[in-house]
Symmetry: C2
Subunit: 121 residues, 2 copies
């Protein structure tokens, strides 16, 4: 997390974004973050090892799908929805819609409260 | 190509389709086939070895993106646009749009005539 570099909007590539969406855990993270809220990494729940979850978060960040920031010892992540919609109109919506239809990544959520462990939409 | 099995529409999975679109050659093939025309494998031009092209065509077929048929010694391929649009509304359109914007797979085309070696849209 030190000195992480995020691609600028116009550096985000189609193939990197689509590849980022080709894994169910990463699609689950996309679904969790689709409500626009910034999440602390520690809040995220996924059926994989912590190191694997970190890897997936890194793939999303490097692809330009998410933005991470560090505050003290804590890392936060949010979806770069505006950048993605500007670069690839309709792609995130189509991916979210398709993923919800297939229930892809449904076992990814947030841990703070059982009743909010799945995103609303 | 013998006895190839295509997934039924409801067997097509989101992750397999997105993974199929995570490679520039396969996206190029999608763009070529997006005009709805069935193409003979021999017509397809891509900057990869013939065996690699066959591999990509197989990935697309196994994912349910394309349908292939054999006629004598010739193989033909077409996009399963209706099935994809039914399963994942907006996904193919968003992928085509994003791929065109980034010019992904632009070096894939058809060989029959130089003037038609890029799909129209």
């Amino acid at each position: 997390m030190r000195q992480v570099r995020h691609p600028e909007r116009d550096e985000i590539t189609f193939i990197a974004v689509v590849a980022a969406f080709s894994d169910p855990i990463r699609v689950g993270l996309l679904r969790v973050l689709a409500d626009g809220r910034e999440r602390q990494w520690g809040e995220l729940r996924a059926p994989v090892a912590k190191s694997t979850l970190s890897h997936h978060l890194r793939v999303l960040r490097d692809a330009g799908v998410t933005r991470t920031r560090q505050e003290g010892t804590r890392c936060y992540v949010e979806l770069r929805r505006e950048d993605l919609d500007a670069r690839f109109p309709g792609l995130v919506d189509a991916v979210l819609h398709g993923a919800e239809g297939d229930d892809v990544g449904a076992d990814v959520g947030v841990v703070d409260n059982a009743s909010t462990s799945r995103p609303a939409g």
